[in-house]
């Protein structure tokens, strides 16, 4: 194990997979000479050359389209759409092409591509560079969606994503860029659909993903001082979802709080809540609570943005309301 930042883990995982498999290449805006806005691809152009690290025009549709065509021919593209907000301009390629082709073509093709994209508010980037739109991509049969909260999870999930034979949206969080953590040295793959219990507890289950996991862990520490022992589950993979892990935990605690950064309405928390209500109703001894953003765009002003983003206090209050 060695300590690395979230960004280092992204960069090194891509490099390792490109060394391992000559069919892996990266394409996107600023990925080459610039090394990406946050350094996620720094040094890769020098290491692998222009053929495999492709600086593209600002043409998101053509970037994903390039990936779909290349993947259909057997390559393994990593496509970079820096901010998930920009996925709106290439949604046809994601929704109707990447996600659908295998099914529509009767299984004739595999589309093994990865789209790397960031979610998240917290740096004053306003409503077109701060959204958490992961739920959109959980409504697309054919697509897998994962989100990493730690550098170790970056390595395990991104490695799995690149080796997966399907389109995978790999979600990063911009506020985690410098977050440090221990990362396994050797080959490390986290199978999709396997949640991680980041903190074991017995009184309440808190389910989250991406950067919110850390706020949940902080809230859990505060709650423990008040005698509430919270279990924090990082689902890591939204599609496929580890239902069993969530239901087992709720079976133990009887209480469920779902925390996500996206707006509450039609967020992925609603899917998890519905799943537990359907399959685990008898396990619950309190209503399911969601802690999420208000139904507004992300505001710019640091004062407003701070208020908008879910914080520890909101998580703590939601948990306490169940006792």
């Amino acid at each position: 194990m060695a300590k690395k930042t979230y960004i280092e883990a992204i960069r090194e995982t891509q490099s390792a997979e490109m060394q391992r498999d000559p069919d892996v290449f990266i394409a996107g805006e600023d990925v080459g000479v610039m090394g990406s806005a946050f350094g996620q691809t720094a040094g890769l152009l020098k290491e692998f050359g222009m053929q495999r690290v492709v600086d593209t025009p600002i043409s998101e549709s053509a970037i994903i389209g390039l990936g779909v065509g290349a993947a259909a021919m057997g390559l393994r593209p990593i496509l970079v759409i820096d901010f998930i907000d920009f996925m709106a301009v290439c949604m046809d390629e994601v929704l109707n092409q990447a996600s659908k082709l295998r099914y529509m073509l009767g299984g004739q093709v595999k589309i093994p591509l990865v789209i790397r994209s960031q979610i998240g508010a917290g740096i004053g980037a306003a409503a077109q560079h701060s959204q958490s739109l992961e739920a959109f991509f959980t409504h697309m049969p054919g697509m897998k969606t994962v989100a990493a909260a730690t550098p170790a999870d970056v390595k395990g999930l991104l490695t799995a994503a690149i080796r997966d034979d399907n389109p995978v949206l790999f979600i990063e969080h911009k506020t985690l860029a410098r977050f440090e953590g221990e990362v396994p040295e050797n080959d490390y793959v986290i199978p999709f659909g396997k949640a991680d219990i980041k903190r074991a507890g017995s009184d309440v289950t808190i389910v989250s993903w991406s950067a919110m996991v850390h706020k949940c862990l902080a809230a859990a520490e505060s709650l423990s001082k008040e005698g509430i022992d919270a279990e924090v589950i990082d689902i890591r993979s939204l599609i496929p979802l580890d239902r069993e892990c969530i239901l087992n935990s709720v079976g133990k605690t009887g209480k469920l709080v779902i925390v996500h950064e996206a707006v509450e309405t039609s967020g992925y928390g609603a899917e998890i809540a519905a799943m537990v209500a359907d399959q685990g109703f008898d396990l619950l001894d309190a209503p399911i609570k969601r802690v999420a953003a208000p139904f507004t765009p992300v505001p710019f002003s640091p004062v407003l943005e701070k208020e908008w983003v879910v914080n520890e206090e909101k998580i703590i209050n939601a948990v306490k309301s169940l006792f």
């Binding site: 290449f25 053929q51 492709v54 593209t56 025009p57 043409s59 549709s61 053509a62 994903i64 389209g65 390039l66 990936g67 779909v68 065509g69 290349a70 993947a71 259909a72 021919m73 057997g74 390559l75 593209p77 046809d92 390629e93 109707n96 092409q97 082709l101 295998r102 099914y103 529509m104 073509l105 009767g106 299984g107 004739q108 093709v109 595999k110 589309i111 093994p112 049969p141 054919g142 897998k144 997966d164 034979d165 399907n166």
Partner: protein, 320 residues
Amino acid sequence: MNLTKDQMLNLYETMVKIREFEEKAKELMLGGKLAGFLHLYCGEEAIAAGVCANLNDKDCITSTHRGHGHIIAKGGDINRMMAELHGKATGYCKGKSGSMHIADLDIGIVGANGIVGAGLPIAVGVAFALRYKKMDNVVVAFFGDGASNRGTFHEALNMASVLNLPVVFICENNHFGMSTPQSVHQKIKDISVRGTAYDIPGKTVDGNDVLAVHEAAAEAIGRARKGGGPSLIECKTWRHYGHFIGDPEPYKDPEEQKKWLATDPIPRFAKYLIESNYAIQADLDAIKNSVREKIEAAVRYAQSSPDPLPEDIYSDVYAG
């Protein structure tokens, strides 16, 4: 370019095969035998035939919602096509596709597409992969005048240009974007001028002249194969029928329709073949009869094929 007699007759046979397939599909649709949408290629046969005659099995195409002609010209199996139109398990896509998304990866048909303009960026990706694997194959992206107004057209041409990829963009200008005449949907008359914007060669040809199409495509495909980058060829043509079967075509001027029908690429090429002593009428009749028999056999194959099973809904969503 001099074509042999066999090549000439192959072009003719391909065109007739497309026409007969489409007329049969129309009859089946109107007879209530087919579900969904059907966008007929009738009138545009010279383009698919003339272009695809320059391609080998490792070369690739992307196609459109009006794609049957491209699939046939690229060597697609009409039995499996007809079965797909009928939604049968033996269809190209096991009944998951229908008319609009037929593919045959084994012979480079990366897929027709139900989204106008979606094939262009995919074609760029296929070309990227071919070059990545150091193959000397090319990709042809078919699309229409309507698609030339989509952002994907512009993004794909620019991307292919800056990456210098082996793609030939074939614009089938049938003068209507669904119901909207070209004069209403764009100010330019020749879509080929848009190549200039991306510094790639642009050429307009008579899309109802199979030999003109063949020659222009041969040049562009040859250039792409040698690493000379992408080209744009606009083939001016005419959709004999509406956008889809059932379209009442209130937007078509009967005089213009009459004028274009007089340039129907099939009788026109038949006349040329006879006048140039490549064939006599009996040869051409024999081709048509043989094609008709194959189409009838395809219908029998399709209609006697098994339906998919209910559990097939769940297969092929994910690989692995």
